[in-house]
């Protein structure tokens, strides 16, 4: 367990006293429990094995490696049928035979090492084997693929299990899923750090914790491998610094009432950037960063943009690395990534135990002649393109030859022997990347780029893209759509593997726009079909629409605005209504031109400065309506004139009043939530919407439709 300054507990102790004095006994008891005063059973204080070290139960009569097991009396490892649900996360290998005369390399890792979006047709394990094969003809070589999607700290367990396969060398390509893990007993310290130093204090503590966890992990694995004299190569992951942009959000709570200043600076900086005044933008960006102490990405992105315009790649890289790391403290909203602290610790620790390092940040920089790593090497935040995989695995193979005391061969030479997969495979990956990027809030141009790439690699992928438009737009569950059946009938295995398995249907405004626009470039007209589908399936003329449903809300401006309604996201006990975290919220409904629509919105702003304020709704930038906000819910009915409604998507923009900035109070509240193990709120709320229903005005007045009439007949009300 890591050591904390005991002073941090002073605040915690004060909090207990404070709560106790308000007679809030439940909270007092809770916090006393955290201290261990109320420990009741021995199992509560589990030994600290480090993060993710929950050993799964292995039957006593077999050896287990990942999803494979070797039963007593057998020599090979076979997949466990009881883990069928796990299979898709691993390489599609039915059994692992005993080692032969061939050199055996094992590749362990997470989705990057799995070859996410390319797997199973092309994977880093394949690239590594192909790079090594020509160099090891005398002995032969095989690469056993033990990469698993979403592998986190369980990497230690897997590395230990891998020894059962008698490897000659093991490669571990991981680090993107290593997030700080805190136990219950850490919470008072975290709360203390938050109350004392705000989010910067929390960030510092998080980084320290992560460094400790990585250090411990690398040491434990290293010691074990050293003892067994099995060479170990760590591949240090890189991040898509060039293209990936975390969604820009408002600053979290500042303890020093700096939120107002920060927002003004942010607006000014963006305006300056837009008008090409880089000097001003840079000045304002610096002030933002000074206020938030590199805990927000927004200012750092502005500084990086300014640096890029001056062709200062080193500065841009520094700012973008800081931007990548800025969100480390927030447990809720971020894509996987290898933080600076992960990369640095990995480099430092692995070498000390005699392990080898393949440093992708350095290798990619060399390959790109100092350019930032970007879409050329990445499909998204961290997953690699075919090119990225080839470079990474060639570098790994080159290092491996040294480890195996083979003649040195340069990575570029090895790459020449590393064949590319077919264009179809790359096309699939590119289109899947477009979908993935869109679902991770990346802007239209990057999504459009990947759509274009897909069509460029294999124009025939248009057949998938056309069906995808249909699939996403239908109300029918995905696999029940005719479009899905048609997609299955095509020969696009990765599309089936990823798109039909893990996708959620959603409005996908930017994505479907990008698909339609890209198709248009190749002479395929899909816009009309999309509009017709949207009308048939979603028009308020046919059915009233709750724009807070995930399907529509998914096109919100910020991830935390849709998290509450996102399928599969655990929100047990959390709020079940929309909260705005910036001055503007954006919603869509599907309308019919010249059909008046009625918007019924139930909203409030619980954080108003004077107890009252006004929100402004702008519909399609054509009409504007002001509604009064209070701290209590109120419902407003707005009739949008027929002339303001257009065919297809209609936009409702809600512009909220500036809230009362209450950073200190917010931090206290966040600390209290953390102590209760509830997801803390770190951001100001600008307004809240409980429901927002849009329907065609004529539907309100007219008699029930035939089916509604039948439904009423079938079952009248009590």
């Amino acid at each position: 367990m890591m050591k904390y300054p005991p002073e941090l507990l002073k605040i915690f102790a004060e909090r207990i006293a404070s709560v106790a004095s308000t007679q809030d006994a439940a909270q007092t008891l809770y916090m006393l429990r955290l201290t261990g005063f109320l420990e009741l059973s021995s199992h509560h204080a589990a030994p600290d094995n480090g993060p993710g070290q929950r050993e799964s139960v292995t039957p006593p009569d077999c050896d287990r490696v990942g999803i494979w097991e070797r039963k007593k009396g057998t020599v090979h490892f076979a997949r466990r049928f009881d883990l069928l649900a796990e299979w898709p996360f691993w390489a599609n290998i039915g059994k692992i035979d005993p080692k032969t005369a061939k050199r055996r390399i094992i590749l362990i890792g997470e989705s990057v090492a799995r070859g996410y979006l390319l797997d199973p047709q092309y994977t880093p394990a394949m690239a590594l084997e192909e790079a090594l094969q020509p160099q090891m003809r005398n002995t032969g070589v095989e690469v056993i693929d033990l990469a698993r999607v979403s592998l986190g700290w369980e990497v230690e367990q897997l590395a230990n299990q891998a020894l059962l396969l008698d490897p000659d060398v093991v490669v571990i390509f991981a680090g993107n899923n290593w997030d700080p893990v805190f136990s219950k007993t850490d919470l008072p310290y975290l709360g203390g750090a938050l109350l004392e130093r705000g989010i910067p204090g929390l960030k510092q503590m998080t980084e320290n914790s992560l460094a400790g966890s990585v250090r411990s992990l690398v040491r434990k694995i290293g010691v074990r491998y050293q003892a067994r004299r099995i060479p170990l190569i760590w591949v240090v992951p890189e991040f898509n610094l060039g293209d990936w942009r975390d969604p820009v959000v408002n600053a979290h709570f500042f303890a020093n009432d700096g939120n107002s200043d920060w927002m003004v600076l942010s607006e000014g900086a963006r305006a300056a950037l837009g008008s090409g005044d880089y000097q001003l933008a840079s000045q304002l960006g610096q002030k933002m960063v000074a206020l938030d102490e590199k805990t927000c990405a927004a200012g750092l992105y502005i500084l990086a943009e300014c640096s890029l315009t001056q062709n200062d790649m080193d500065a841009a890289r520094r700012y973008l690395e800081c931007a990548r790391d800025a969100i480390i403290w927030n447990p809720l909203i971020k894509s996987p990534r290898a933080y600076s602290v992960t990369q640095k610790t990995l480099r430092a620790e692995a070498g000390m135990l005699g392990s080898e390092i393949v440093d992708l940040p350095r290798i990619f920089a060399e390959h790109l002649n100092g350019d930032l790593p970007d879409r050329r090497l990445f499909l998204d935040y961290c997953h690699l393109t075919v090119e990225g995989i080839r470079i990474a695995m060639a570098a790994t193979a080159s290092r491996m030859l040294e480890v195996l005391n083979r003649p040195a061969v340069s990575p570029s030479e090895l790459m020449r022997h590393s064949p590319r997969p077919s264009h179809k495979v790359e096309a699939e990956a590119a289109f899947l990347a477009a979908v993935h990027n869109a679902h991770w809030y990346q802007p239209y141009d990057i999504v459009r780029y990947y759509c274009g790439q897909a069509l460029q690699f294999a124009p025939e992928i248009s057949q998938v893209m056309v069906r995808f438009v249909e699939l996403q737009t239908c109300r029918t569950p995905m696999l029940m759509c005719r479009a899905a059946e048609e997609m299955v009938a095509f020969d696009w295995p990765s599309i089936q593997n990823y798109l039909l398995r893990f996708n959620h249907q959603s409005l996908d405004k930017d994505l479907l726009d990008a698909v339609v626009d890209s198709l248009k470039d190749t002479g395929i007209e899909a816009a009309a079909r999309l509009n017709q589908l949207r009308f048939d399936e979603h028009s308020v003329t046919n059915v009233k629409t709750n724009v807070l449903d995930y399907y529509y809300c998914s096109s919100a401006l910020q991830p935390q605005e849709e998290l509450w309604v996102k399928p599969g996201v655990a929100t047990s006990g959390q709020r079940d209504y929309y909260k705005a975290y910036s001055l503007e919220s954006r919603f869509f409904f599907v309308g019919k031109a010249f059909h008046s629509a009625c918007i019924s919105i139930t909203c409030r702003a619980s954080n108003l400065r004077s107890g009252q304020g006004f929100a402004v709704l702008v519909i399609n930038r054509k009409v504007r309506v002001e509604i009064e906000l209070g701290r209590k819910w109120a419902t407003w009915d707005i009739t949008v004139p027929a002339q303001a409604v257009q065919d297809g998507l209609n936009e409702i923009s809600v512009q909220w009043p500036t809230p009362a900035w209450c950073g200190k109070q917010g931090i206290e509240s966040a600390a209290a939530s953390m102590l209760q193990q509830l997801p803390p709120e770190f951001y100001h709320s600008f307004g809240e919407i409980h429901s927002c229903i849009v329907q065609d005005v004529r539907r309100i007045d007219i008699a029930p439709t035939p089916d509604e009439h039948v439904a009423q007949l079938v079952t009248g009300r009590v």
Binding site: A26, Q27, L29, Y30, R33, L38, L40, S41, S42, R475, T476, P477, M478, L479, M480, C481, R482, E485, V488, E537, V543, S572, G573, R575, D576, Y577, S600, T602, R604, L617, I619, R621, K622, V623, R624, V625, E626, I627, R631, K632, W633, A634, T635, W636, D637, I638, T639, V640, P641, Q643, H690, S691, P706, D707, V710, A711, L713, T715, G716, V718
Partner: protein, 615 residues
């Protein structure tokens, strides 16, 4: 024209209307945190909507706060959260916590149990959850658990006055209450407190017989007629009936105070056999024990009902609480007891608590009784929409018969299938509230076929072979086929089958049946189906069972119905105005149907078959 008003490009300003406060009294009732969470809405005392959260979440017996059910209730009534006058919660968290803490003080309680209690001590209270989850900042009425049960029954009974009996496992402290009601007033004048509990008495045997506690009690009831009361003497040793309304459990046979098991080794010794393992073969011994516990339960209930009548000499009895779902006991109580009329809340378990809490809050706010009339039906859940179902079907490659605007054809076609011995999934109109399918989300079949019960149990519902099925019968024809002289719209009574027809699929081994009577007013399409079936066969009866597979909640939406149809061996699905046969199912639907099925959501309180979730 708007465009011409908008010459400078800036948006035209329009006005919004603030919706006036709804003049009606809108009360939401909530039950949650235990099992079968639900939400209901009373509008000016009229029950507008009620639904269990499990129907939306698709997690059987979902106990989480009913957020989707809450939204549904508002939507059904056409109101928003701003229109709510009150949210009523169905039990007093403080009382419940007192009981839980007491459980932690019992000598010999495990450390894990105490830790679990401590966790509850420090967890958020329902009032806080309501405020946080819904963003609700209005008044919250807390209604005691058994008062919620009592209100859920009496206020919807249509009686002007009545005696009230509530019996369940446990809520806060009481497990049984006795009350009287007149007009808008309910008075609970006596209670039996935890750990003495008729519900636990029955549940302990349920667990001993290898069925899931709090779920398998009705299996015990269904098993009982196969057995003989050979163990009544032993079972009587489990419970001592004392004076007045009281009784005591002999705690040496019950483990729930100290362990995660309902019964102790002493019960096995008493009955002379070890407990039955779940899913193992059911032997005559198990049937005899089931019969014995049913007999003893009925004896105790009859005794207590007689006592209640001595205190409240009314002709009317209202019952609620999980034990009131024991329809066999209800029938005997009515037949042999002193009361002339019995009303049982159709959702007698905790789900119905939300209705009772809302009703009680209505009385507190308005001083008036919420409902004057007897509850006529429980079609209080989400409705299917033919247009939306059509939208689903047309965007697929499924083959289906389109009977929009052709109801007669739909009915005829359904009867054709039934006559061919096919099992029909029937999903129509608004869904039922409570545990019973009553012709809105039902599986239907021809009751005259000898093999039908075994076939549905084995292939469709994938459940134990002994489980009986209930008949749905046209109300006007009920008396000719069943020993029943009054409507039974909620399937809450058993009676003898007296029909001249041979009805093997719905007649239980003792010649009884759990009847639902159907009338044209409350469910016209189902009644039309029964009528057409009668016209062509002379039999106005259909086998009717809930539309779900084992371990799955009853289907709610059209999509749920379709996916359940795909998963199980139902031959035909009649969903809204459409008829689908298995041969018309696209292969990919099978994959969709399996996705997510069986996910139970995360829950750190793993419940084994032996544990009642009493905490």
């Amino acid at each position: 024209m708007l465009a011409s008003d908008n010459t400078n490009g800036s948006p035209v300003v329009i006005k919004a209307e603030r919706r006036a406060e709804d003049p009606r009294v809108n009360i939401i009732g909530i039950s949650a945190g235990y099992h079968d969470s639900s939400c209901s809405l009373l509008q000016d005392g009229v029950l507008i909507a009620a639904v269990q959260e499990e129907r939306f979440s698709r997690i059987k017996n979902d106990k989480s706060f009913p957020k989707r059910a809450f939204r549904y209730c508002l939507e059904e009534a056409g109101i928003t959260i701003a229109d709510l006058d009150c949210i009523a919660y169905y039990e007093d968290p403080c009382l419940k916590l007192g009981r839980q803490l007491w459980m932690g003080m019992v000598p010999g309680v495990t450390a894990e149990r105490r830790e679990s209690i401590l966790n509850r001590l420090v967890s958020r209270q329902p009032q806080q959850i309501i405020q946080k989850l819904f963003g609700y900042d209005g008044p919250i009425e807390i209604v005691n658990h058994h008062l919620s049960h009592a209100a859920s029954s009496y206020y919807f009974s249509g009686f002007e006055e009545a005696a009230i009996l509530t019996v369940d496992g446990v809520g806060d402290w009481p497990t049984t209450t006795y009350g009287r009601a007149h007009g808008s007033e309910i008075e609970l004048f006596e209670q039996v407190d935890f750990p003495n509990s008729l519900g636990f008495f029955y549940s302990a045997i349920t667990g001993y017989l290898g069925f899931e506690v709090n779920e398998g009690e009705y299996k015990v009831m269904g098993l009982a007629p196969y057995g003989k009361p050979a163990y009544v003497d032993q079972v009587r040793d489990l419970i001592q009936v004392t004076s007045g309304g009281q009784y005591r459990l002999n705690m040496k046979y019950f483990g729930f105070l100290r362990e995660d098991s309902m019964y102790t080794e002493a019960l096995s010794s008493l009955l002379g056999r070890p407990p039955r393992s779940p899913e193992s073969q059911i032997e005559q011994f198990h049937m005899d024990v089931a019969r014995s516990v049913q007999v003893v339960l009925e004896e105790v209930l009859l005794d207590k009902i007689r006592y209640l009548h001595s205190r409240v000499p009314s002709e009317n009895l209202c019952m609620a609480g999980g034990v009131a779902l024991n329809v066999v006991a209800n029938g005997r109580c009515l037949k042999e007891g002193p009361f002339q009329r019995l009303f049982v809340q159709p959702a007698a378990g905790d789900a119905g608590g939300s209705v009772g809490a809302a009703a009680m809050a209505h009385v507190r706010i308005t001083g008036e009784r919420p409902a004057k009339e007897c509850l006529r039906h429980v079609y209080l859940g989400p409705r299917n929409s033919s247009a939306q179902t059509y939208q689903i079907l047309k965007s697929s490659s499924a083959r289906f018969q389109d009977c929009r605007q052709k109801e007669e054809e739909l009915i005829r076609s359904t009867v054709d299938h039934l006559l061919q011995g096919r099992v029909v999934g029937w999903s129509q109109g608004r869904m039922e509230f409570g545990p019973r399918s009553l012709g809105a989300r039902s599986i239907l079949a021809d009751p005259r076929r000898p093999d039908m019960r075994d076939r549905i149990n084995a292939l469709v519902k994938k459940r134990e072979a002994f489980r009986p099925f209930a008949p749905a019968v046209l109300e006007s024809e009920a008396g000719k086929h069943f020993d029943l002289d009054h409507p039974s719209p909620f399937m809450l009574e058993t009676c003898q089958v007296i029909s001249s027809l041979d009805l093997p699929a719905i007649t239980h081994v003792d010649g009884s049946a759990r009847v639902q009577t159907v009338d044209h007013e409350t469910n016209p399409r189902f009644a039309a189906l029964l009528q057409e079936f009668a016209r062509r066969t002379g039999c106005p009866i259909l086998l009717n069972t809930s539309f779900n597979m084992r371990g799955e909640p009853i289907v709610c939406s059209s999509i749920d119905a379709i996916l359940s149809f795909v998963r199980c061996q139902i031959d035909v699905l009649v969903v809204d105005d459409f008829v689908l046969e298995r041969s018309g199912i696209p292969p990919l639907w099978e994959v969709q149907a399996q996705q997510g099925f069986g996910d139970k959501g995360s829950d750190d309180e793993t419940v084994t078959h032996l544990v009642y979730t009493m905490l």
